[in-house]
């Protein structure tokens, strides 16, 4: 896997305890080799995953966030992933306006028995993130970066709504 040959990137995973976390275990038991970038946070249900956790991770500089839950209809709590599906879909569709590449966030469904599928998901997502490369930091790293932005702004660039006002 090319992902392993280069520097690791920061990929955060949110997995529901009953299906996907078990699926990741199954993949482990099956010794299905995967890139190591992903770090998994275990939650009881995909319905517990607040889209804002994902935003928080991205704001903190995560290069990718992967969410996985039970397949729709298979939720241990009957309805959790139905709510999750709506919340996560909204977040994914919203990201573009912020300038954060929506491909850095993905959500999927993996059952406890789908070890191979999990291996596939992790491998594919990790490859994708490595193609995208490290995520830009939302906080400009240095004064220099700040200044460049500020100068641009002072010249009235960037903002569509108020652009006219600078004139």
């Amino acid at each position: 896997m090319p992902a392993q040959d280069v520097r690791e990137l920061r990929i955060v995973g949110f997995l529901c305890n009953w299906c996907s976390y078990g699926g990741a275990d199954t993949a482990g038991v099956g010794r299905f080799t995967q890139p190591t970038d992903l770090r998994i946070i275990r939650v009881p249900c995909s319905g517990r995953i607040d889209p804002l956790f994902i935003v928080r991770a991205l704001m903190n500089g995560a290069d990718g966030v992967l969410v996985s839950g039970c397949h729709p209809r298979d939720c241990h709590y009957a309805e959790g992933n139905f709510y999750a599906r709506r919340r996560l879909e909204m977040l994914k569709r919203f990201l573009p306006i912020t300038g954060i590449d929506e491909r850095r966030f993905e959500y999927t469904w993996v059952s406890a028995s789908e070890g191979q599928r999990w291996q596939h998901v992790v491998t594919e997502f990790t490859r994708r993130i490595h193609e995208l490369g490290p995520a830009p930091s939302f906080n400009p790293k240095s004064d220099v970066d700040w200044n460049a932005l500020a100068v641009k702004a002072s010249q009235g660039q960037g903002c569509p709504c108020h652009g006219s006002i600078q004139a």
Partner: protein
């Protein structure tokens, strides 16, 4: 000292100062005017209007890291690094009211007992080159709080626009230092023109309102919640007024625990917010916006003056009125209290 500096030279002055210090100057920024750290190439907006945000960030930044804690191994004590502000700052092109704001801070941050090292260091290392106003905005009332459109107090250099340049007058030795630069030329008789301009601006402001009775009258309304409910009806208890205010000096201290390291930061606080007086028990002595507005107005026009030789804790810049999403007008509230028929 009185000198003259052309508009172009003022920009050069900014460039020159920026080489050695942090220069804050008003910048038209996507529809608003804010103080930004000056960079060569930056377009300044000195005249169109008063900056939306006050220049107080120069001496009292919204966020200030007080100390950083680094942890190596548990046996070794965590290392605590105090982070005192470094470097010199210049505020260029603020209005006299903005520069004057810090005069309200001083008696609070430097007393016989308490001296705030962070504030004092910034205060010491910051020079205000302010620009006299040539006409008042509808929300201006500096003349009613013991100041005026060309009030030098609080500034180090006061500029007055005359023709294609400014008449510069030094107010402090620090200001005088700067004015020694070659960019300043002899003012000739432009001084008179400047005086005339400033006089005209003052005249345009009309008669000043007399706040002399405010402290007592506000105190008299202290327990009159109906009064404050009515006054605060339209307030949405956000922080626009306090954060824009050049004289609001309240702060909050929080720790950001990041596990392996952590920081203690001081940030602007906002007395209009529920959390301002929220106690650990969950009890809140100022549970409603009426309580909070009472405190804000009372503090500026009654409690502070009582503590500090009658000085009103307001510089009359009018930002709290102009920037209020619902147009709460502090002048009206104080007036209502003053004119309240017992």
């Amino acid at each position: 000292m009185e000198k003259f500096i052309t508009k172009d030279n003022l920009y050069r002055l900014a460039e020159e100062l920026a080489a050695t210090c942090r220069v804050l100057a008003p910048v038209a920024d996507c529809g608003t005017v804010t103080f930004r750290r000056f960079q060569p190439g930056m377009v300044l907006d000195l005249h169109s209007r008063m900056a939306a945000v006050s220049p107080k960030a120069a001496t009292f930044p919204q966020t200030e890291t007080l100390l950083v804690v680094k942890r190596e191994i548990p046996e070794k004590k965590p290392e605590i690094i105090e982070t005192l502000p470094e470097g010199k700052n210049v505020v260029l092109g603020c209005r006299p009211c903005g520069a004057r704001g810090k005069l309200i801070f001083d008696p609070v941050y430097e007393t016989d007992k308490i001296k705030d090292p962070y504030y004092l260091q910034r205060r010491r290392n910051t020079v205000f080159i302010s620009l006299a106003c040539d006409r008042p905005e509808t929300t201006c009332f500096c003349h009613s709080v013991g100041s005026g459109p060309a009030d030098p107090s609080g500034s180090d250099v006061l500029l007055t626009l005359v023709g294609e340049g400014y008449v510069a007058r030094s107010v402090t030795p620090e200001g005088e230092e700067i004015m020694k630069l070659a960019l300043f030329s002899d003012a000739g008789d432009k001084g008179k023109e400047a005086d005339a301009k400033n006089a005209k601006a003052r005249e345009m402001m009309g008669e000043a309102h007399d706040y002399a009775s405010a402290p007592a009258k506000l105190l008299a309304r202290f327990d009159d919640m109906d009064f404050w409910l009515a006054q605060s009806a339209k307030c949405i208890s956000c922080g626009a007024c306090t954060y824009m205010c050049p004289t609001c000096y309240c702060f909050n201290i929080t720790d950001d625990d990041l596990g392996l390291s952590s920081q203690r930061i001081r940030t602007w606080d906002n007395c209009m917010s529920h959390t301002f007086t929220l106690e650990g028990s969950g009890h809140n002595p100022r549970s409603t916006k009426a309580h909070r507005l009472k405190n804000r107005v009372g503090h500026k026009f009654s409690y502070y003056p009582d503590l500090h030789k009658g000085v009103i804790a307001c510089c009359g810049c009018g930002r709290c009125i102009k920037q209020c999403p619902t147009g709460v007008d502090i002048r009206q509230i104080v007036k209502a209290a003053q004119e309240y028929a017992e």
